[in-house]
């Protein structure tokens, strides 16, 4: 039996790690400049005070917390989706998982920075950590912000490990193909990985357990983020729908971010052979489903408020529906509902371009959703004399822009140092487009040889 080795595929995957293009430096330079400006803006804010942001009485939370929720939402792209797909053993997940998991890790890091940027005295942020800081007083574990710490900490730890563990065999591949400092560097990163069956089995078991454990954690993280709002007795915050609403929104924006990242990588790293229209179409279907789910949640939320007609909540309701925030609100509805449904329910537009356009809309729409949850509610609390408003300042916008740039920068760097598609998973998947001849079903020694070929393998 003559079987082509996986060498050409592995070479394809390892190539970006080995050679550097001008584009890489251009991206690093451009995004790096924006990140540096954002860092400078933060330094400026640290020096003079949080007053350089646009926050005011009574809207004490605004753009930074919007970005916090937004980025934590984006982080649900990866680990959660990857874990679900891993558990249901969806074969088409294989080229997607690492792309997604990286989003999780970086988005979580960026998102977790915002509560600190947002603090009045960020130099004391470590008082949030669970240790008896001042006069032997521990943090108040009744505060949703303490829950945030635990939830984000668990999720970030889990996600980083979930991303790192499957990278070890790929580091070993790079190690074997490189010389000089790279060989030492990747040799160290691969922890002496050889690829014995024992190692493979342990790795697979660990990934399976982690996938099971990380799913409820991911759900809990965004539920707890929603608790930051729903625990406070603020009009249109104090709602039981917030947990699932936030989780659904998070997955929604996460998938959109994943589609955008995949499209960008596909172009930049020439992965057209591996990231196929099929992947976009499958993710597009998922995005369509989440869009409908999102619309369902929004309708639920709005209907109960409108029907309840409680005047504190109606103030927020009308402010978003036809008042000061109406333009943002209706933009959000168009971006999150109308555009995705129009583009993705039609098989002719559910192509790569259609998915990218819809995802772009969803990312904008979901950002607006977070903004519209935070700002109008705080501006319209129970006593109308204390109503306020909010306009972002350049410092806030600069820091926000820097986080978007940081995401691109981190992603570019990651793709530079790590094969962005899990090579061994691709190989193991018997994925139809993995460059290997001979169908698995023809292998007489396969233990599942009698089973029919999986549909994705056939396609």
């Amino acid at each position: 039996m003559n079987r082509t080795l996986t060498k050409p595929f592995t070479d394809d995957m390892v190539r970006p790690v080995m050679s550097t293009t001008v584009w890489f430096w251009a991206i690093v330079l451009a995004t790096g400049t924006v990140v540096a400006s954002g860092a400078a803006a933060w330094g400026y804010q640290l020096w003079y005070g949080i007053g350089l942001s646009g926050k005011r009485w009574p809207g004490f939370w605004a753009l930074y917390l919007t970005n916090f929720v937004f980025w934590i939402g984006i982080s649900h792209a990866g680990t959660l989706i990857s874990a679900i797909l891993r558990l249901v053993n969806a074969g088409w997940r294989r080229p997607v998982t690492r792309v997604a998991e990286v989003i999780t890790v970086f988005a979580l890091m960026i998102g977790a920075m915002f509560p600190i940027i947002h603090l009045g005295r960020p130099w004391l942020a470590f008082w949030l950590f669970p240790y008896p800081s001042a006069r032997e007083i521990w943090p108040n574990f009744r505060s949703p912000l303490a829950w945030d710490f635990f939830a984000i900490n668990t999720y970030l730890t889990g996600s980083v490990l979930f991303l790192l563990l499957p990278m070890i065999p790929d580091f070993a591949l790079v190690r074997d193909r490189s010389t000089g400092w790279r060989r030492k560097f990747y040799g160290a990163l691969s922890f002496g990985w050889r690829g014995t069956t024992r190692q493979w089995n342990r790795l697979e078991s660990a990934m399976q357990i982690m996938a099971i454990a990380i799913l409820p954690v991911a759900v809990s993280v965004h539920t707890i983020v929603s608790f930051d709002f729903s625990m406070a007795n603020v009009p249109m915050w104090h709602s039981t729908i917030f947990g699932p609403y936030f989780v659904a929104g998070a997955i929604f924006s996460g998938i959109a971010a994943l589609i955008l990242a995949m499209a960008a990588l596909r172009k930049a790293l020439h992965l057209e052979k591996y990231l196929l229209p099929l992947h976009f179409e499958n993710l597009g279907k998922l995005l369509l489903l989440m869009s409908i789910l999102w619309g369902y949640f929004v309708f639920n939320e709005r209907l109960t408020v409108w029907y309840g007609n409680e005047h504190h909540e109606m103030a927020v309701f009308w402010a978003t529906q036809r008042g000061q925030y109406a333009p943002l609100y209706w933009t959000m509805v168009i971006c999150n509902f109308i555009i995705p449904i129009a583009l993705l329910s039609n098989p002719y537009t559910r192509n790569i371009i259609g998915c990218v356009v819809a995802s772009f809309g969803v990312v904008i729409g979901m950002w607006l959703e977070r903004f519209l949850i935070i700002v109008p509610s705080l501006a319209h609390k129970a006593l109308p004399y204390s109503w306020g408003t909010y306009t972002p300042t350049p410092v806030e916008l600069m820091i926000m822009a820097a986080t978007f740039a940081a995401m691109i920068l981190l992603y570019a760097l990651f793709a530079k140092f790590v094969p962005i598609i899990a090579i061994w998973e691709m190989k193991a998947g018997d994925f139809a487009h993995a460059p290997r001849q001979g169908l698995a079903a023809a292998d007489p020694h396969r233990i599942d040889a009698a089973a029919p070929a999986s549909p994705e393998a056939a396609s």
Partner: protein, 163 residues
């Protein structure tokens, strides 16, 4: 000569090599199979599959849960400050942290088990960089009867090397 091994591009052939070694009287524990991908559909990929990892994770999760419950209570009663008329150690809110710590304990235990069993526990040194090109390595590190082993490994579609 400390080890002898064959390199196979086809997992079916590798399976035959493993079977041959077994027939040659090599105990399963002495047969080393190295590949650049898991072969979960082949018998040789299922040797060593048994692991206590899920039980360790469950136990660690349970331990984390109990420990967090008591640590939270202790720290809250260490300086019982009243807020919002709530109890000093309210179970409702503590449950959230207990849950997170349970999961973190389980994840940590899984990773530690992995490191101990798959990295620290690995004593073999047999390796060939050609594995990264897709070859499957089947070999034996403790060489007794070298000729017998070599004939077991030397099958169509494979190369035998020894070091």
């Amino acid at each position: 000569m400390s080890a002898i091994y064959g390199l196979y591009s086809d997992p079916n052939v590798a399976q035959v090599a493993v079977n041959n070694l077994r027939a040659a009287g090599v105990p399963d524990a002495d047969i080393t199979v190295i590949s650049s991908e898991p072969f979960e559909h082949f018998e040789f990929g299922h040797r060593d599959a048994r692991t206590a990892m899920p039980w360790i994770a469950t136990a660690a999760g349970a331990a984390g849960m109990v420990a967090t419950y008591y640590l939270l209570g202790l720290s809250q009663h260490a300086w019982p400050l009243v807020t919002s008329g709530m109890p000093v150690a309210p179970l409702w809110t503590n449950l959230i942290i207990i849950f997170e710590m349970t999961m973190l304990s389980a994840i940590a235990a899984t990773v530690i088990t992995l490191i101990v069993t798959a990295f620290i526990g690995e004593r073999g040194t047999l390796y060939d960089p050609e594995v990264s090109d897709g070859y499957i390595l089947v070999g034996v590190e403790k060489t007794g009867d070298a000729g017998k082993l070599e004939s077991a490994l030397k099958i169509d579609g494979g190369r035998v090397k020894s070091i």
